[in-house]
Structure formats: C-alpha cells, structure tokens
Amino acid sequence: TDEPTTGPSGSAAAGPGTGEQSKFFVRADYDAELALLDAAPTGPADKPWEQALNPTMKDTATFKKAGPHKLCFSNAALNNPWRQVGFKTMQAEVAAQGSRISEFVHVDAEGKDQKQIADINDLLGRDCDALIVSPNTTATLTPAVEAACRAGLPVVVFDRGVDTTCPVTFINPIGGYGFGHVGAQFVSQRMKPGGKVLALRILPGVDVLETRWSAAKVAFDKAKVDVVGVEFTDGDPAKTKKIVDDYLQRHGTIDGVWMDAGAVAVAAVEAFQDAGKPVPPINGEDQLDFLKVWKDAGLTAIAPTYPTYQWRTPIIAALRILDGQQVASPWKLPQPTITQDNLDSYLDADMPPLHYAMCGCTDLPGYPQRWK
C-alpha cells in the first residue's frame, strides 16, 4: 500500500516538476480571481477593508435586530503571527464600534477541527446575535457551519472558506490564485529562462494555501521553468533554511524561489546569504521582517499579500447585517501587492518584525501599542 488508494494530487510528493494539478484547482475560480486583480473596487478608497470587488449585494432584512449586539467568533487558531495580527485588528475594530457591540465572544479552536465543531455548537447555545467563523479546514468544518446556518442566526465566514453558500456572506481578499499567480509570475519573469525554481509551502490542505500553489503551478508551467522541488516547511524557519541549503547543495544554484506564505521568507533569503550565494528573485508576504531584508539587501522581490485588514470586515459586515443593510456576498476585498516601487511606504521600523504591513490598523484604537 505504498500508493494512496484514491487520487488526491500528491503534489507534495511531486518532487522535481510540478506534476498534476491540485484537486483544489478550479479553473473558473482561477480565471475569476485573476480578472479581479485588475478590477476596480467600490467603496471608500482609504478603507480597503470596506471596499468590495465586483460586489453582488445580498438582502439581510430578515436578520434586522435592535442593538447593541452580542457577536460571537469561532476562530480556527491563533497559532501564527498572521492570525495574531489579524485577531488584534479584529479586537480593535470591536473596540472601535463601541456601544454597538454589547459583547464579543471569542473561542479559539487551537487548530483542531474537532474542537472548532464543538465550539460552534457551543456558541449556538449562547444567545449570539451573529456568528463569525474563520474555519480551520474547509471541508471538515462545512457540516458545522451548515448546522449554524440552520440555527437561524446570521453567519459570516472569512479568511478560509467552507463548501457551502449558506452563510450570509464569505469575506476574503481576492484569494489564493491571485496571491500565487502574482508571485510566480514575478519570479519566472525575473529569472533566467528555464532556470531552477524552488517552491516552498508551509502546510497542505488549507484552501487559501492550496490555491496559491495551484495558480503558481499554472504560471510556472506556462513559463517553462524547471521547478526542482516543492517542499513543506511547516512554517519553521530552521527547517526552511535546511531545505534551501540542501537544494543549493544538490543543484549548485537555484534561480528563483516561490513561497506560498511569507512567514519563512527571511529564512530562505538567509540560506542564500549564509551559503555565500546571490539571492535569486523571490516572493514573500507583507511581513515587516521580509520587507526590511528586501530593502536592506536590495533583493529582487515582490510581496503579494493576503491582507490582515480582512479581520476588520466581518465585524463591520455582522453589524450591517443586524442593521438589515445589504452586504456584498461574497465580499471580495482588494488584495494589493507590494513592489519595489511602493516598498518604502510599507516599511515601518517602529513595528515588530513579525507585524504585517497590510493590517489597515493605524486608525484603530490602541495603535500602535496593541500590535507591539
């Protein structure tokens, strides 16, 4: 039984070459997302977390209710800096809404599907006016979210998705295809044709990450670069460094590095530096440590983002729903890219290295202390 019996792509096992496309890849979604990259958002320009791309509005009159409201949030986890920054932003947004929210209940599933299902069920018994969910795993949380919808209260899902349209809305930025595409496009254009690319992924099975890789795959296949490896780093910088080091050993040079998440980008850069090799074109994310290295070392780099300001939107959406106002559904937020040209405007020496530039939090109560 060496071969898995059914056919999930096994992209992890692909080794050199990009192998067959991930089962997460949906052509139509891919096309739609890439189209959104050029779409013009509606809404206040200085508040991207309130903007929407090509919105379809949904009626919410049935949920209208007198305030103040009790909002409940089932959170997948707080186990990485991205989520930490996001959650702080969300808490600040709650604070900013002041008297409109009587109570904000947060339950952390600690990265466990099973616990999150129980958590959601538990929250249903606690008189919430609206339920916000950031699901741990797409497929496995679907039944629980469906159960929540059936309970009759408005459900707002954000960040990672679920396989159902029952929630009032699903909020996230353009998404994984956009992220993956931007990075891969950049890397393959800046490196020598046919050169060797190393793809680093943090973990499998999460849709927003899987779609990043599947879009990158399309780009790389099109550009005919040689993807010498697709490795999982578990988000561990030490492991990342060792992997890059090993690939440098094995292949002599690596001409481009693509990453599905920025958390370990700095470690990858350092692996080249420490080996005394030039850092090839690379993509990271809007984490400040990467932006700093980029600037300091003069990297050829790009940072597609999955902005943490999206953590503000669910609160805003929930309140609008409880007011009976229409909301975009799905609610697609803009997803800016940091490039050499606008890099300086995102650098902020005063914020901690693991902070995310796209937090959209500077106007929130407690800034900057809350995020330090």
Partner: protein, 326 residues
C-alpha cells in the same frame, strides 16, 4: 507476626473523581458569577463530544499502559482511519458496514505491528510506536494534502450529530466501549492477565500467563479504539482528515488522561473508569475556559499543571501506602 488489621478498608474514591466533581462545581460557579451557564444544553453537548473523541482513544491507551506499554502512534492511526472510513464510504450509506470493517481491520493491522515490535522484537514501546507513527505520517503526508472522501450521511447524522437529550450518540459509544473495557479488565482472563503483565511480567510469566500474546492483544485493542475514534471523527467532520489526529494531540492527551485517571505509567495499576473521568476532567476544564474565554495558552499552562499535580498526588498516596518492594 504482629497481626495486621485487615478489617474492611473503605475503598478510596479515586482522586480523579473528586477532582472532576470539584472542577465541575468550581467551573459552574465561576461561569455563573461571570453571568454564563456551564451546563446549558449546547455546552454540555460540546463537552461530551470532545470527551467522546478523546475518551475512545484514551480507553485504548489505558489498556496498553496497564500492560506496561505505551502507544504513541494513535494520533496517526486516528487520521488514517478517518480516511479509510470516509474514502470507502464515499458518501454512500450502503458502504457503512464494509467501511467500518475495513477501517477496523487496518487499525488492527497497525496494532499488530506495534505489538509485534514491542513483544517479539523487544523494541522499547516508546520507540516502536513512535517509529510506526512516522511510517504512517509519511503515508498520510505523501498521500493526502487535505480532507478526502466523504462520510456516509447516515453516519454523520447518527454518530456524528445525533443525540438523546444532551447526550450525543458518540458519548454513548464511549460509554459502551469503556464499559466493555472495564468488564474485560475485571471479568475476563485477558484482563486479569494484562494487569498481571503490567504489574510484573516475570511473575506473570512464571504463573503461566502468555505475556506476549496478552500484550499484543492489548496493542491491537488500543489501535482499534483509535480506529473507533477515527470513525467518530469522520462522522463528525463529514470526511477523512489526514491531520485530525495530530492536530488534536491525541497521542499525548490520551496518555495524559490515562495518568490523570490514576493508571500508573509503569503498568499494573489503574483502570478505564479513572481514564474516562480523566477525559471528562480535561473536557470540563476546556468547557469552563471556553465559557470564560480564557486564553488557549493559559489553558495549556493549567493543563500542564493539572497533569503533574494529579500524578504527584497519586505518587504521594503510594508513598504513604509504602508497600515495601524488594
């Protein structure tokens, strides 16, 4: 010989039951003061669901620990069995029985491998089951990049979500499995022999117990319990989940529940009832902290302290009992 007083000693209420009662009482109070309610239906249901998953694994773990062994591969066995179950069912109610059968068969195989390594090849249980866990991890990591298969709706509706009052079916399953295990330990030869092997393998051997076979059986049963937990989780999640076991920390948590429940890690003493109480204790700490929205990290610290403190209390009692052993 000075006559020892052998008048009926009152059977001690195992500490874990006291701790459980205390936790529930304090939890209820604190939550109430906070304006909440610990025992409302939804919370109780959630608590029992969490307990069901961990409990099934922990009951199995109790068996191997009682026998003086250990199983660190359960987390992977759970993940594997969710996948085998969900993929075999593939959403069809008709396939439930074959799927459950196949899942349990696969689990039994893993348990057999563990057992053979520990008993016949004399590999230390820690390393043996860690190694088997790695084998499974490799298979899961390379075979799956996310949830796969789909659990039969009938199973999702019953085992996954159905309940009688506040008691989920899955918790009844746990009660049944724990009951069977308790019964087996108290009333079957296998049970008596297992405890003997854990107490002193040489004494057991010289008394005519087939130590190898007994411990091997315990390993198979432990994996089967993990398999049941997997089937339950598959019904809960609606699909197979390649990382659900490790995410849930079922390996370490099940061992923690076992030792909190008063089973000696060295084997030979303890039982499943304590384990179930240990599981409920952990689950009620969870529930209380959930209600109070206590930070998950703080909860982790408390868990650590509870585990150490519980075992320290047992160790003290044993010290006082002070059976002098050569």
């Amino acid at each position: 010989m000075s006559a020892l007083s052998l008048a009926a000693v009152p059977r001690r209420v195992p500490g874990v039951f006291l701790a459980l009662a205390l936790t529930l009482a304090v939890g209820w109070l604190v939550v109430a003061v906070n304006g909440g309610q610990l025992f409302n239906q939804a919370t109780t249901v959630s608590l029992l669901h969490v307990a069901a998953g961990l409990g099934l694994v922990a009951v199995g773990q109790t068996l191997v620990v009682l026998g003086g062994s250990l199983d660190l591969s359960v987390a992977y066995v759970i993940s594997l069995s969710t996948l085998v179950a969900a993929e075999t069912m593939n959403g069809s109610d008709g396939a439930v029985l074959p799927a459950v059968g196949l899942t349990l068969a696969v689990c039994a195989g893993v348990g057999l491998l563990n057992g053979v390594l520990v008993t016949r090849l004399r590999v230390n249980a820690f390393i043996a089951t860690l190694g088997v866990g790695l084998l499974l991890k490799g298979y899961l990591d390379s075979g799956y990049d996310g949830p796969a298969g789909s659990t039969a709706p009938a199973l999702v509706q019953t085992l996954g979500y159905q309940r009688i009052g506040p008691v989920p079916l899955s918790f009844l399953l746990l009660v049944a499995v724990a009951g069977v295990a308790w019964f087996a330990l108290a009333r079957t030869r296998f049970g008596h022999h297992l405890v003997a092997v854990g107490g002193d393998p040489e004494v057991a051997r010289l008394s005519g117990v087939r130590t190898t076979r007994v411990l091997l059986t315990a390993h198979v049963l432990c994996s089967l319990c993990a398999g049941l937990a997997g089937i339950y989780l598959a019904s809960r999640l609606g699909s197979g989940a390649p990382r659900v076991g490790t995410e849930g920390l079922y390996d370490l948590e099940s061992i923690a529940a076992v030792v909190i429940g008063g089973t000696a890690l060295a084997g030979g003493r303890g039982g499943v009832l304590g384990t179930v109480a240990g599981v409920l204790l952990l689950a009620s700490i969870d529930a209380t902290f959930n209600q109070l929205e206590v930070d998950a990290f703080f909860k982790q610290v408390v868990r650590g302290v509870v585990i150490i403190a519980a075992v320290a209390v047992y160790a003290r009692r044993n010290l006082r009992k002070a059976a002098w052993r050569p």
